[in-house]
C-alpha cells in the first residue's frame, strides 16, 4: 500500500510533481502512465525517500519508507537500470545489499536464478547489456521478498521474452496479495499488465481508475455501420439518441448506441446492413484524449505553456 498526499517536487523553476494525491492498493498491479518527463520517476524516488518532497508526504505500508526497520522487506524497487558499480559482479552487488538486512547468500542465489542471471552472476556488471542490467535491478528489488514492488520502466531494454517475464512476474506478485506499482510511457504495456491505472501529465494526476474504466469511459465508443439505405438508418439512429457521422467510403460512424441496438433498429426498420462493426476505443486513444485535455488546459495559461516549452527536453532522472 502506497499513499501519497499533496506530494509536490520543485526543481528550481520547474514543478516536476504538482500536488499529487493517490493510493496504490495491494493485490493489484497499478500502472503509472505518462509521457517522458511527466514526473513518474520523481514520484517514485520520493516514495523511496531518495528525493525529498517540496511539500506533501508519502507513506509505504503506513509510514514513510525511511522509518521502516526492514526497508527491503517493505519495498523492492527498480528505479533505473545499472544502479551498480561496473567493477563489481552482479553477485557481489547483491551480497553487499543483502548484508545490510542479514539476508542469507542463499537468497541471493535464489533471486539470481529467478531473474535468469545465473550464467552471468559472477561477471562484472560493466559488461552487462541494458537488459541484463535491468534483470539485476529486478533481482535487487526482489531480494528482501518485499510486500510492495516498485518498477520504473521495467521493460526498457528487455527482449520480448524478458518483457513477457516481467509482465507475468508483476501479475504473479500482485496475485499473492502484494502491491505492484509499475511505470511506463507505453500505454499498451500498462493495458496488458495493469488492473488499475494512474495517469500523470506535467506533474499532475489526470486519471486514477481501473484500466477497463479508462477504456470504457473513453468518449469515442464507436460502431461502424454500412448500409445501402444509409439515410433511413441514420434517421432511426438519431431518433434513438445516437450521434451519426459519415465515415470513410460511405460508412456511418455511430456513437451513443451500441452495436446490438444498431442491429435491432435496422431489423425493425427493414434496413439492409452490409457491415456492423463495434470499434472499441484503445487505451492509447483514451490516454491521448486525457493528455490532450491537459494540453488545452495548459494553453489557457500562456506562462505555464511557455515554461514547459522552454525546457522540452528535461528528461526524468537527468538531475543527479
Amino acid at each position: 500500500m502506497i499513499e501519497a498526499h499533496g506530494l509536490t517536487k520543485r526543481y528550481g523553476p520547474k514543478l516536476a510533481v504538482d500536488d499529487v494525491t493517490f493510493t496504490v492498493r495491494p493485490g493489484t498491479v497499478t500502472g503509472f502512465l505518462g509521457p517522458n518527463g511527466a514526473g513518474k520517476s520523481t514520484t517514485m524516488r520520493m516514495i523511496m525517500g531518495l528525493d525529498r518532497p517540496t511539500a506533501g508526504r508519502v507513506t509505504v505500508n503506513g509510514r514513510p519508507y525511511a522509518q521502516h526497520t526492514r526497508p527491503l522487506a517493505e519495498v523492492g524497487a527498480l528505479l533505473e537500470a545499472k544502479a551498480a558499480h561496473p567493477g563489481r559482479t552482479a553477485r557481489q552487488h547483491l551480497l553487499a545489499l543483502a548484508a545490510t538486512h542479514g539476508i542469507a547468500p542463499s537468497r541471493v542465489d535464489e533471486v539470481v536464478e529467478l531473474t535468469g542471471l545465473a550464467a552471468v552472476a559472477r561477471k562484472r556488471v560493466g559488461g552487462f547489456s541494458l537488459g541484463m542490467g535491468q534483470r539485476l535491478g529486478i533481482a535487487v528489488a526482489l531480494l528482501g521478498d518485499p510486500r510492495t514492488l516498485i518498477l520504473d520502466e521495467p521493460v526498457n531494454g528487455l527482449d520480448p521474452e524478458g518483457v513477457l517475464w516481467v509482465r507475468n512476474l508483476a501479475r504473479y506478485v500482485a496475485g499473492e496479495g502484494r502491491t505492484v506499482f509499475l511505470s511506463s510511457h507505453l500505454m499498451s504495456e500498462v493495458a496488458l499488465t495493469a488492473d488499475h491505472v494512474i495517469v500523470i501529465g506535467r506533474g499532475r494526476i489526470l486519471a486514477d481508475m481501473p484500466v477497463q474504466q479508462l477504456v470504457d469511459g473513453a468518449s469515442r465508443r464507436l460502431v461502424r455501420v454500412r448500409s445501402p439505405q444509409a439515410a433511413a438508418l441514420a434517421e432511426a439512429l438519431r431518433r434513438e439518441g445516437g450521434a451519426v457521422a459519415p465515415g470513410d467510403d460511405g460508412a456511418l460512424e455511430v456513437t451513443g448506441v451500441d452495436a446490438a441496438r444498431v442491429g435491432e433498429l435496422a431489423a425493425v426498420g427493414g434496413v439492409v446492413l452490409h457491415e456492423l462493426t463495434p470499434v472499441a476505443s484503445t487505451l492509447e486513444e483514451a490516454y491521448l484524449e486525457l493528455t490532450a485535455d491537459a494540453v488545452e488546459y495548459q494553453t489557457e495559461r500562456p506562462a505555464d505553456a511557455l515554461a514547459g516549452a522552454a525546457r522540452p527536453d528535461t528528461p526524468e532522472g537527468s538531475h543527479r
Binding site: M48, G49, Y65, P71, A83, H85, Q92, T100
Partner: protein, 290 residues
C-alpha cells in the same frame, strides 16, 4: 515464478529478512570495499611504496654515513636539523605518498557511488543514510590504520640493518619516536576521514580529488614559498594551520617553533577540521536528493 502459492502463504515472508543494524550496514560496506579490484590494488600499492621509500631513504643514509663529506654536510644542513632527522623520519618517509593514495581512495569510496548510480541501491536498502556514511568511515579509517601500521612495521624491520650502519636506528624507548610512528598511522587515517567527508560533500570524483590534492599538496607548497618570501605574520599563521602542515607535525620530531605547532596541537587542528567536515557532510547527506 512458476510455483502457485496461495495468498495466505505469501503473506508470510519465506525469506529471513532482518532489521537494518549498524553492524549489518558495516558488513555491507566492507563487502563493497573489498570487492573492487581498484580498491584492493590501491591499498596494496600504498603499502609497497611506503616500504620501498623507507628502504630507499635508509640506503641513502647508509651510503651517507660511509661518506664523510655527505655526513658532515647533513649534520650542518639547517633544514635537516629543523626536521629533526631520526630513524622514524626514514621509516615514515612515504607518508606523503600515503596521504595522496589514501585521500584519493577515501574520496572515491563515496563519489564512485554517485557516478555509477550505486548510491540509489545503497540508500534504498538503508534509507536513513547516515549509517552508510559512518560505516564507510569505519571501513576506510580502520583499513588505512591497519595497512599503514603493517607497512611501517615491515619498513621498520627491513630498514633496521641499514639504519644501524648509518647510526640512525629507530629507538622505541624514545617517546618522541614512538609518537612519530603512531602519529603516522593517525595522520593517514585522519586524512582518509577528511577525504571521505570532502567526497560526501562534493559527490563528483574529479572535483573532490582535485580539492584533496589542492588542500594537502598544492596550497602547502604555495605557502611554503610565500612564508619565505614575506614577513607578514598572518602567512605564518595560515601556513601552520593548514591541514597538512598542522597534521604532519605529529609525525615529525621536535617541539613547536614560531612557524610550526606543537605535534599534538597540530594533529588536533587536523582532527578538528575533519570532525567539522564530517558533521557538515552528514547533515547535507541526510538532506539532499540522492
Amino acid at each position: 515464478m512458476t510455483a502457485p502459492t496461495t495468498t495466505a502463504e505469501a503473506a508470510r515472508s519465506t525469506t529471513a529478512v532482518q532489521r537494518v543494524t549498524f553492524t549489518r550496514v558495516l558488513r555491507g560496506e566492507w563487502i563493497k570495499f573489498r570487492t573492487l579490484r581498484s580498491t584492493v590494488w590501491t591499498v596494496v600499492i600504498t603499502a609497497v611504496v611506503m616500504v620501498g621509500l623507507a628502504l630507499m631513504m635508509a640506503a641513502i643514509m647508509q651510503v651517507a654515513a660511509d661518506t664523510p663529506e655527505m655526513s658532515e654536510g647533513m649534520s650542518q644542513d639547517p633544514g635537516l636539523q629543523a626536521i629533526g632527522l631520526t630513524g622514524t623520519t626514514i621509516v615514515t618517509f612515504g607518508y606523503s605518498f600515503g596521504a595522496l593514495a589514501v585521500g584519493v581512495l577515501a574520496t572515491l569510496i563515496v563519489t564512485s557511488e554517485y557516478s555509477t548510480g550505486t548510491v540509489r541501491s545503497t540508500f534504498a536498502a538503508v534509507p536513513r543514510r547516515l549509517p552508510v556514511l559512518w560505516a564507510k568511515l569505519v571501513v576506510i579509517v580502520l583499513t588505512t590504520a591497519v595497512v599503514v601500521a603493517v607497512a611501517l612495521a615491515i619498513a621498520y624491520v627491513a630498514t633496521a640493518p641499514l639504519l644501524e650502519d648509518a647510526g640512525l636506528s629507530v629507538d622505541l624507548s624514545d617517546p618522541e619516536q614512538v609518537r612519530a610512528l603512531v602519529g603516522c598511522v593517525l595522520y593517514l587515517a585522519t586524512v582518509a576521514a577528511f577525504a571521505l567527508a570532502v567526497g560526501t560533500l562534493m559527490r563528483h570524483s574529479a572535483g573532490a580529488i582535485f580539492t584533496i590534492v589542492a588542500i594537502f599538496f598544492v596550497v602547502p607548497l604555495i605557502f611554503s614559498i610565500v612564508v619565505q618570501a614575506t614577513d607578514a605574520a598572518w602567512t605564518d599563521w595560515v601556513n601552520k594551520l593548514l591541514p597538512s602542515v598542522a597534521g604532519e607535525r605529529v609525525i615529525s620530531r621536535g617541539a613547536a617553533t614560531d612557524v610550526l605547532l606543537d605535534p599534538w596541537v597540530g594533529y588536533g587542528v587536523l582532527a578538528g577540521y575533519t570532525v567539522v567536515l564530517l558533521v557538515v557532510a552528514a547533515v547535507t547527506l541526510k538532506r539532499r536528493d540522492a
